[in-house]
Symmetry: C2
Subunit: 213 residues, 2 copies
DNA sequence: TAGATTGTTAATCGATTAACAATC
DNA sequence: TAGATTGTTAATCGATTAACAATC
């Protein structure tokens, strides 16, 4: 099914959006959809949608379109959402608490197994029913639960050294909210950076430059 | 100075990252930097850096490189960080509180002037010294403070109708954390979407596909 | 069957990289 | 001046769009 060529990140980053739109269609009882109609709803070209999907296989039917439910499931599988990867969260400050409370990890392919902080005033607090643990328990937790992913909600200064430590514990993926750029330093380590500040500055640019039009 | 051609989003999205790296260099007392050295630190090509910067003007000096402090200031200006745009935040749940507390709006070109929620149990609470106001005060606040930007930390269901309302109040920019896709529906309205769920699913894909290598 | 819509190939467009003359 | 490094043009690479034969 899946074609063996390397898939570009441009394509991958569109998949979660397809997934969301298909979920909505599904919820609204829509059974089939053509690339044309989906393209109009999403503001893309039909060509791009077909091109994107055909990176992974022919999910449609000529003359008919795509079966919503089936395509939804297929994309979920491509994204790996059907296998829950154990993850820990580091840093239970404002941001860490919000991420832990707000994000539905199970629906996105992860299982949040523990939350850590090193501030004595935060340790022991409950977040979504989970007690915040001291950082010295990280190693044991990772070993016991076979944790492969860490969510970083810690300050930039702390991040650099903690990343090294986590990699030594066999953590292989980071969802990084810290301002520290894990990026390209560690080969084989998979990183998804969430730089909220960058996003806000981009909006500032759009507003500034948008006025020139 | 600024060249008049349209700048691509690919270039724009790299600017905040340049800005962060230059800030660090500046803090570490580095006075000058060449595109080559910066490229190594950032994991880019020197060519790309020079190409990017020259979209906006020649900020360097042949045979020398770039003056860190000067380039930093220049990029800040390009991003429009020197003008603070008044913004309101809607939705003081977990996520809204974290964004309000965590984000340094002033450093990113904005001034957060008010926070709104429609839940009686949240209205009146203080977040970063600001009292959460009932949504019925949105109109008055926007008019009085000439608000042009809204940060949306509200559920998807609420977003669709609130966006229309805010646009009618002359809001022209959205920093959108809701799962609602403002995207292409409203011409002339500038949107920066932060889809945390999409980001997490992308990490799931990387982990899934990374294993195939 | 006729109509619709896919999967896929070819054409276009845009972004990145390479090369080098200009110049500090 | 000689060496270094920019700004910029040209070459390459990749992503998007258009077109159409295949087929349900």
């Amino acid at each position: 099914m899946a074609k063996s060529e390397r898939i570009s990140m441009s394509v991958i980053r569109r998949l979660p959006r397809y997934y969301r739109f298909l979920y909505d269609l599904k919820e609204n009882g829509v059974v089939r959809i053509s690339s044309k109609e989906l393209s109009q709803r999403m503001g893309l070209t039909a060509s791009q949608i077909r091109q994107d999907l055909n990176c992974f296989g022919g999910f449609g039917q000529q003359g008919y379109g795509y079966v919503v439910e089936q395509l939804y499931a297929e994309i979920g599988r491509i994204l790996g959402l059907d296998v829950l990867t154990p993850a820990i969260l580091l840093g239970a400050g404002n941001l860490g608490r919000a991420v832990a409370n707000h994000m539905d990890f199970e629906q996105k392919g992860f299982r949040l197994v523990a939350i850590f902080d090193d501030s004595p005033s935060i340790i022991g607090q409950k977040i979504r029913g989970m007690e915040v643990l001291p950082t010295k328990l990280i190693e044991e937790t990772c070993r016991r639960q076979n944790v492969k992913v860490a969510v970083l909600c810690i300050p930039k200064e702390a991040a650099a050294s903690i990343v090294e430590y986590l990699i030594s514990l066999d953590i292989r993926g980071f969802w990084n909210f810290s301002h520290f750029d894990i990026g390209h330093h560690y080969p084989g380590v998979l990183v998804e950076n969430v730089h909220l500040g960058d996003s806000l500055m981009t909006l500032s640019y759009k507003l500034t430059a948008g006025g020139e039009k």
